[in-house]
């Protein structure tokens, strides 16, 4: 069974701090790892990572994947109160089922980040 484990489960910081969120996975036939941000509604896409060692960056957020260690991190620098959310990690993996071969998306439990003023 595919597993995605995120840590920490929750984190409280002050504005301006830098945070690192972790995601480890155990899947067969890895295809990609995705990060999402979820406020009080549907998740919104942040990054998709497929190759080791290549950093994806968007403003104060960045992420990198290590396929050898089965691990990804999401960094947020100079945090703001608007960064408060649940951050979800998901892994896309190739599998076989009644439809032939296809991709299943498995999510971790998420990290609840609270940024205080």
């Amino acid at each position: 069974e595919d597993k995605v484990v995120q840590s920490p489960l929750s984190l409280v910081v002050h504005e301006g701090d830098t945070v690192t969120l972790n995601c480890s996975y155990e899947v067969t036939n890895f295809r990609s790892l995705l990060w999402y941000k979820q406020e009080k509604k549907a998740p919104t896409f942040l990054f998709m990572l497929t190759s080791s060692g290549i950093e994806k960056k968007s403003g104060r957020l960045s992420s990198i994947l290590d396929k050898k260690e089965l691990f990804s991190i999401l960094n947020i620098t100079a945090t703001q109160t608007g960064d408060s959310a649940v951050y979800l990690c998901a892994v896309e993996a190739w599998g076989l089922n009644s439809g032939g071969s296809n991709y299943k998306l498995t999510f971790g439990k998420g990290t609840l980040l609270t940024v205080n003023p």
Binding site: P43, T44, F45, M48, A90, S98, K109
Partner: protein
């Protein structure tokens, strides 16, 4: 471009009642998914589909059924609702191929279901 549309947004069911959560997408995506999210938890996969006429069980399928008669629609059926099915339900769709380095799942706005 509407994306993924879920209805209803909220629903209260009595134990033993049944209902269908509707999900439709207009992006011609092959893959569609149903997840449930309990308070403080991540998303758990209920059922998914890789195309019209094909569905498969996810992590927590018991108590649910799905169908995929068209590419656009992927309804989730709850038979004999139980309090354990109180949750927020998300439908998502995804393309099989990358587009400018992206292949993310697009989510509907969720359905908050309470079974009493």
């Amino acid at each position: 471009n509407a994306g993924v549309t879920q209805t209803p947004k909220f629903r209260i069911l009595k134990i033993g009642q049944s209902m269908t959560l509707q999900c439709t997408q207009d992006m011609n995506h092959n893959y569609m998914y149903w997840y449930r999210q309990d308070p403080g938890m991540g998303l758990k996969l209920i059922y998914y589909s890789v195309g019209a006429g094909i569905t498969d069980k996810g992590e927590v399928p018991n108590g649910y059924n799905v169908s995929r008669s068209t590419t656009e629609d992927f309804p989730l059926r709850l038979e004999l609702a139980a309090p354990s099915q109180t949750s927020v339900y998300f439908c998502a769709s995804k393309s099989r191929v990358e587009n400018r380095g992206r292949r993310e799942a697009f989510f509907g706005q969720g359905t908050r279901l309470t079974v009493v």
